[in-house]
Symmetry: C2
Subunit: 165 residues, 2 copies
């Protein structure tokens, strides 16, 4: 808290509490900003009238770009939410589960329509999310690969793995 105050050119940690109620408020705010960004990126894609594999491709690219453009908030969304106390912790997890269910629905749809080869729907969903979410650990904005290229590459490899032969 003293570091945050310092970053805002305030003297001593105490001044911060004229603006916020407590430390957890900051965490809660960032967690929800991240959740907002993920939903805002995915919802228009879910509403489109496209084939399951086109939708999944677009959804993956959108998800990856949100991470690449919100690395700080992503750290909270994927890791630091653990420090939330109840009832906020459960409320956050509920939202994150809702979001993950949208991805699972895309996989489910592709399987139902025979576009994807048979796989365990849950494992496939977790694997796809895991692959994308790990970007928070290795993506560097100034690195060799642009976010757009990484997104296209990951989405292609995944679809290649899922499609019927």
């Amino acid at each position: 808290m003293r570091e945050i105050a310092d970053e805002l050119d305030m003297k001593g940690g105490g001044s911060l509490y004229a603006h916020i109620k407590g430390k957890e408020d900051l965490l809660w705010g960032i967690a929800n900003e991240a959740a907002d960004a993920f939903f805002a990126a995915l919802e228009p894609i879910m509403a489109c009238d496209l084939s399951p594999d086109q939708k999944l491709y677009n959804a993956m690219v959108a998800h990856i770009l949100v991470i690449a453009q919100h690395l700080g908030a992503a750290a909270v969304y994927f890791d630091e939410w653990r420090h939330l106390t109840e009832p906020r912790r459960s409320a956050f997890l509920q939202r994150r589960d809702d979001y993950e269910r949208l991805f699972q629905a895309l996989i489910h749809d592709g399987l139902a329509k025979g576009a994807f080869a048979p796989v365990d729907e849950r494992i496939a969903t977790l694997n796809i999310l895991s692959m994308m979410n790990a970007l928070r650990h290795w993506y560097r904005p100034d690195g060799r690969l642009a976010a757009q290229d990484i997104a296209a590459s990951i989405a292609s490899m995944t679809l290649n793995g899922l499609r019927q032969r």
Copy 2:
């Protein structure tokens, strides 16, 4: 440290220091136990005389089983190592990088021999490791899926995605 002392039926945090030099020693020990387990599982597979895709399949199953059987050490290996101070931090990362290079060599080999469809070697390696390593977040020993089945499922899906059509 007081919780650890308590778990060992010691009174007060101080007694612990008759057995260890400091807190970081414990972290360092666990990090290396995990690294040992990963290398021990992978090395015999690397030495085998098999095709690139068979080797990668076996390597993935072995890696996944190490995680499933060492969930606590895996948390240190993947996350808590960040709290190591230099020079241990760098020494640990060196070892982890060496291990990741073994996986990258398997991908490289499959690409060179034309067994795998063209992909960015580095992204493919990171994706495969990410998918497997995320098990630490969602695998539950008492869950619906046995570690062996998850391992086989992840390895199959991955190879299906990599192979030439």
